[in-house]
């Protein structure tokens, strides 16, 4: 019986002195996890933030998160989601050009398609939408 594979989006917050810690290396090597960095904000002498997607066996993923926490890294699970209100949307596509992760695209019928898996929650669409059709929800 193979172990259950799970995927989780996380936000890691760590103090400046922890910036040197090679966490992605340990997550891959010691816990056999697939690490996908979605966003990174690390600047000297400031709190760093990393948005990661981790994928792996359920038990290993949990141990990986414990490892991060034992190193004084705050781990918040990313349960927020971008919500696209189709009733408000007029399918103009003003959000398409500013969506760096290409989670928002116009399909062959000129209609807006929101590909949730690609969204990195940057929130720029919330700001640029003239119809206020996007909301970030918990």
């Amino acid at each position: 019986m193979s172990a259950e594979i799970v995927k989780k989006k996380l936000i890691l917050s760590f103090s400046p002195e922890l910036a040197e810690l090679p966490i992605t290396y340990h997550l891959v090597k010691d816990f056999d996890l697939v690490v996908n960095i979605l966003r990174a904000q690390i600047s000297p002498e400031k709190e760093g933030r990393l948005m990661l997607e981790l994928e792996g066996e359920k038990g290993k993923l949990e141990r990986g998160i414990s490892y991060l926490q034992s190193n004084k890294i705050r781990v918040d699970s990313l349960e927020k989601e971008l919500f696209h209100d189709k009733e408000l949307c007029v399918n103009c596509g003003l959000c398409v050009g500013v969506c760096a992760s290409r989670a928002l695209v116009l399909d062959e019928n000129d209609e807006l398609k929101f590909i949730k898996e690609k969204c990195v929650m940057c929130g720029i669409c919330v700001k640029v939408c003239p119809r206020r059709a996007f909301k970030i929800e918990l």
Binding site: V90, C92, L94, G97, D110, K127, V128, R131
Partner: protein, 384 residues
Amino acid sequence: MVRTIDEINEKIEKDEVVVLTAKEAYDLVKEEGVKKAASKVDIVTTGTFGAMCSSGVFLNFGHTEPPLKMETITLNSVPAYGYIAAVDAYLGATARSYENPEYGGAHVIEDLLSGKRVRLEASGTGTDCYPKKDIDTKITLDQINEAIMFNPRNCYQNYAAATNSSGTRLYTYMGALLPKYGNVNYATCGMWSPLLKDPEYRTIGIGTRIFFGGSIGYVAWHGTQHNSAKPRDENNLPIGPAGTLALIGDLKSMNKRYVRGAYFEGYGVSLMMGVGIPIPVIDEDMMHQLSLGNEDIKTVIVDYSVASRSRPIVREVSYQELRSGFVEIHGKKVPTGSTSSWALAREIATIVKQMILEKRFFLSEPVEPLPKDRIVKPLEVRRR
């Protein structure tokens, strides 16, 4: 081959009319050529949907007891222009609420159309015939006498696309423009756009019956900033902003799907309007114009980082390239975004076709043609 409006209307009456949308006409001409298509097709329907700032409604509220001459007027805290007799007002789409900068005239129009109650506050000085000095009440669209939408400038024939070469993000009526050519935003609906399909205004003129916000409306005049003398390219098309239309219609009979308030971050409020115009295939030349596609229709990309009346042109581009999702600027692949809804433009063109087939829409001959020699003058600021 020559066809008159009267002949086409007779065909509508007899269920013999052949109507295609702009895309269907494009496909047919590709397959069969202009000559054959012109002999078959009577009407081609066009449509557009996008932010049209120069819009608004004339409202007549009716008289109170005792009467009031309304001078300062707000609707949901959005100022409207009084000073038109006693109880007439003009609510401009871009007027902003004193309380919420993201809400404005366009949203009041959308709320009225949705059947919502809107707060009306008005005051005047009080005269012998209008003794009352102020009111604070709620109105609905059904309850007031008239709501005449009159938009001084809609349906831009073509429009420049926008980009930003500077190092900071810009917020414009063309949306957010990311630094260092981070994106390109464009307006108009390309091959769906009414005035790009009749570029010489041969069939669209004063009095032309149109689909306006889900109802029937009319071309009232040429629009403000009507730049009809703009040079044309080999396809007879202007590259960049040219002709415009002033449109009139009854807000009470419109459909809120095609009349929507909009807020552009850092710019303000605008109204998104849906307009459709059926174009009669009066001859083969008309069919040729109607068959042009996004690859044939071009505009310019201008740099909005220069905050001046005349902004530098970055390059010329076709709507086909803009629509592909990326354009090339200085060797870089730049993502594009649109301020107009091509999905709704297509929907409107399809509805107009259906209305004609169901005899709910007959074509009209223009009362007068639109002027073809107009240019846009700048305003020079002079001291004395």
